[in-house]
């Protein structure tokens, strides 16, 4: 469903993503982990069509993000790390706008909006202007908007930031259910516990390189017992391989 083929992207001299090869199928929740500046957000921005690969190609549902942008983005729902909503519109008006932009008719939008309002518990504030929302309320509304058109791929950048424990649970359950229903989720996160809990596969990036790609069980096989928490494995991997990657990049 998602394919990165030999993708590289640099910011001037700095290589943000270096020769990334990755394929993620429907029904998978892929958690991309990495330090700040590892290249996660660049990878996500290429995946949603905001920036273009310097080399290689990114495809969603077989569509190239550069040459077939509209086809590809119509399959995607995107939840950015900093939720942006039109502050002079209500949550319901935003859901309506997004749904119609994805080609849904009025009736479909209304049904889908009610579904998401119920699922994300937005009923209490969905008819108020979004300028009055807290960060968590905004994040939940963005999730609702991203899922409104039943995308095949959900791209989520740091989904747990700013959420209260109840909302976190809500989001984690939601992602699990969607993946079970066949959705493909690509998530970037620093919350290792959440990744450990819900991801079917993880990728660990450092200095633009994908250091590891596989299940958490596969990763555990590489480490001795006692060092098999995701946190310990992540730190061990990024500290050793990360140094090598940095040296290579230099």
């Amino acid at each position: 469903m998602i394919e990165f083929q030999q993708v590289s992207r640099s910011y001037g001299e700095k290589l943000a993503v270096d020769n990334l090869n990755l394929a993620i199928n429907a029904g998978e929740l892929y958690a991309l982990l990495g330090h700040n500046g590892a290249g996660k957000t660049t990878a996500i921005k290429m995946l949603v069509g905001l920036i273009r690969p310097g080399a290689g190609s990114v495809r969603v549902g077989g569509y190239d993000l550069v040459s077939q942008t509209r086809q590809a983005t119509s399959l995607i729902g995107y939840v950015p790390d900093e939720p942006y909503l039109y502050d002079k519109l209500s949550g319901r008006e935003i859901l309506n706008f997004v749904g119609r932009m994805y080609g849904m008719d009025n009736e479909q939008v209304e049904r889908a909006a009610e579904r998401e309002i119920g699922r994300f518990e937005l009923a209490e504030f969905v008819d108020e202007l979004t300028e009055t929302y807290s960060h968590g309320m905004k994040q939940r509304t963005v999730f609702a908007a991203a899922l409104l058109h039943a995308p095949r791929v959900l791209v989520v950048d740091e989904p747990m930031i700013g959420l209260d424990p109840h909302s976190m649970r809500l989001v984690k359950d939601l992602m699990r259910n969607e993946v079970a229903a066949g959705m493909c989720i690509f998530m970037s996160t620093h919350t290792l516990q959440a990744a450990e809990e819900i991801a079917t596969r993880v990728g660990i990036m450092s200095h633009g390189h994908l250091l590891f790609d596989g299940t958490i069980d596969t990763l555990r096989e590489r480490f001795p017992a006692g060092q098999q928490s995701l946190e310990a494995m992540y730190l061990a991997l990024t500290e050793t391989k990360g140094k090598n990657a940095k040296a290579e990049a230099v």
């Binding site: 910011y11 077989g62 002079k88 519109l89 994805y102 579904r115 039943a150 229903a181």
Partner: protein, 624 residues
């Protein structure tokens, strides 16, 4: 792991069933099901309509004072402009020639050509800059790019905003001129009917050129550093300034003579080039205003209405051409340029202690250390934020240019009219400096306390009392504004060659204005803080900011009138026919002293009261 082919995912419909019965959506996510171009445009217009409707409703509910103030000032400004131009055109009719006379036509053409040609250039720049920030620096453009919306539609959506924001000032300026001219020239009904379409179609052309330039520049030169752009602009200014100077400069002795008039027309002939849209607009307007007398021998195409419509057709067809070109450029360049722009190299600035900081530290040596540190912090924040000082620089720079040219109409004769004019202009200049300063204290000083709310985890825990923080803002604002303001006022006085006594009065008034305006802004900022908002412009636009602006303007008017009037009468006493009878010369010195003392008292009240109230409020303020 195979990602599968595109057809596997899109044919013919996607049925996603998620968490039980709640997910029963079944809608076709094929490309054909996405909105058509027209539908996309409708949806974006609806978005704009809803946003604007809510914004307007909120304006009348949450910011009634500001809305009333802005509307009233705009109406006042419009009427003022209309009267000014009405008088100007009447002067031309009375002194140069009636409509139809050769000198009348030449003069009006000259004014229109020059006015619209200048706006032509300004519209190109303003629409390009507004579009740049709308497309490349706004979160909603980013959001739209992640949705299956056509890039050209996003550009058009933002372009419409750019056209609106860059041209509203043009409408505010052009409409009173056009209407005043129509009335003075006795224009027929279709002149007024054609005004709006002529102006709208004209505005669209430079705005489209600005948009295309913006897309092209970002597309081709994403790595261009701002310093390079600023350097190029500076070079351009340096190259153009001598040309402009030569164009506007002429010997004083020939001012307003026939030779001067012809020479001026000749020097500005470049504004009358046939290929300029401003020329088409001018010709369209003048043709529509022409008093056409039809005879049987006339061709139908010679009729004023036909000629004017032909120019309108020329403008509309060109506007449409540039519209198509904008769409073409957007389709071709926008996504790619956005990506390149997002990935541009950002150089991290290495901050070292600069000469400016050292100078500031030396200047503040007499202040207590905590106050010094706070002042230097605010100075650094100001210095490193070009948005703040560049506006200050532009406005004060323009004022400086105006002051440098204020002696253009200098009259060697020592008549009463000239003396009145000199004195009035010098005090008006002082008031203008004060009014501009008040907009800056409202925009930049008033929000400072609200913005400190976000950093109060630092300031609130420091071992200093809260008064020091507020005092630092006051000194920062008053000292920072006093130096440029007093220099500007001095420049104006020197250029106008006003007597030394007036210079002293002006400098004293300037000090009073700086202290009072700083105190009002700091005091109200502490009394009416807004910790929810992070944007200083939005804080300034709220109720407290508007109140601050209104009170500042009132304060300026009171202080300037108190010092200006006695000074005015004192200077004119005995020099005019009414001088002695109007105010007894023997009391004039007393009036002057009383006026100055009254201004000092008002200044002291305006400085002490808001600051004291602000200090009191700030001591018990909770940074929730």
């Amino acid at each position: 792991m195979s990602a599968g082919s595109a057809d596997d995912y899109l044919a013919p419909a996607i049925a996603v069933s998620g968490s039980g019965a709640m997910r029963a959506v079944n809608w076709p996510a094929t490309l054909a099901s996405l909105p058509s171009e027209d539908r996309e445009a409708q949806l974006l217009w609806r978005l704009r309509y809803r946003t604007a409707r809510t914004q307007l409703a909120r304006l009348f509910v949450d910011a009634r004072l500001r809305t009333i103030l802005v509307s009233s000032l705009s109406v006042f400004f419009w009427i003022g402009l209309f009267l000014l131009f009405y008088e100007g055109f009447t002067f031309i009719v009375d002194n140069v020639g009636v409509p139809g006379a050769p000198y009348h036509a030449q003069t009006v053409q000259f004014v229109f050509h020059l006015f619209f040609a200048s706006l032509n250039i300004m519209l190109i720049f303003s629409s390009g800059i507004i579009l740049y920030s709308g497309l490349y620096n706004s979160p909603d453009a980013t959001l739209m790019l992640t949705m299956p919306i056509r890039p050209e539609r996003i550009v058009l959506f933002k372009f419409q905003e750019a056209v609106f924001y860059s041209s509203w000032g043009f409408f505010l300026l052009a409409s009173p001129i056009m209407i005043a001219y129509g009335i003075v020239a006795g224009a027929p009904w279709f002149y007024y009917l054609l005004l709006a379409p002529l102006i709208v179609s004209f505005v669209y052309i430079p705005c489209s050129i600005g948009a295309i330039c913006c897309l092209f520049v970002i597309h081709r030169l994403p790595k261009l550093r701002r310093i390079v752009v600023a350097g190029a602009l500076l070079l351009l200014v340096c190259a153009v300034t001598p040309l402009v100077w030569r164009t506007v400069n002429s010997p004083q002795s020939r001012l307003f003579g026939t030779e001067w008039f012809q020479d001026t027309l000749y020097r500005f002939r470049f504004t009358q080039q046939e290929w300029l849209p401003s020329t088409w607009l001018t010709n369209g307007l003048l043709e529509a205003a022409r008093q056409g007398t039809t005879t049987a021998a006339d061709e139908a195409t010679d009729l004023p209405i036909v000629q004017s419509i032909l120019y309108l057709a020329l403008l509309v067809s060109n506007a449409l051409f540039f519209h198509v070109l904008t769409i073409w450029a957007a389709k071709r360049w926008f996504r790619a340029s956005y990506a390149s722009f997002a990935c541009r190299v950002r150089r991290n600035r290495v901050i070292r202690r600069s000469l400016a900081d050292r100078v500031m530290s030396a200047l503040l040596v007499g202040f207590p250390l905590p106050l010094q540190l706070l002042l230097i912090k605010d100075w650094r924040l100001l210095r490193r934020d070009p948005v703040q000082w560049s506006q200050f620089l532009i406005f004060f720079g323009l004022l400086g240019l105006y002051f440098l040219n204020v002696d253009r109409f200098n009259n060697p004769h020592n008549d009463i009219g000239y003396l009145t004019w000199i004195n009035m202009v010098s005090f008006l200049n002082l008031a203008v400096v004060g009014l501009i300063l008040s907009t800056f204290t409202t925009r930049f000083i008033y929000p400072m306390i609200s913005l400190e709310g976000h950093c109060f985890w630092i300031l609130g825990l420091l071992p200093i009392d809260r008064d020091t923080i507020l005092w630092s803002k006051f000194w920062f604002a008053s000292l920072g504004s006093w130096i440029p303001c007093s220099l500007l006022v001095l420049l104006s006085d020197v250029m106008l060659r006003v007597p030394m006594m007036v210079v002293v009065v002006h400098q004293l008034t300037c000090v009073l204005l700086c202290l009072g305006l700083a105190s009002i802004a700091v005091g109200f900022g502490a009394m009416l803080p807004n910790f929810r908002e992070t944007s200083p412009s939005k804080i300034a636009a709220g109720f407290g900011g508007t109140l601050n602006l209104v009170l500042s303007a009132l304060y300026i008017m009171v202080v300037v009138v108190l010092t200006a009037l006695p000074c005015h009468f004192y200077l004119l006493a005995g020099k005019g026919p009414w001088g002695a009878s109007f105010v007894d010369p023997q009391y004039l010195r007393l009036w002057l002293i009383l006026g100055t003392v009254a201004a000092i008292i008002v200044g002291a009240i305006a400085t002490v009261v808001p600051l004291r109230r602000g200090l009191r409020a700030f001591r018990v303020l909770e940074f929730a």
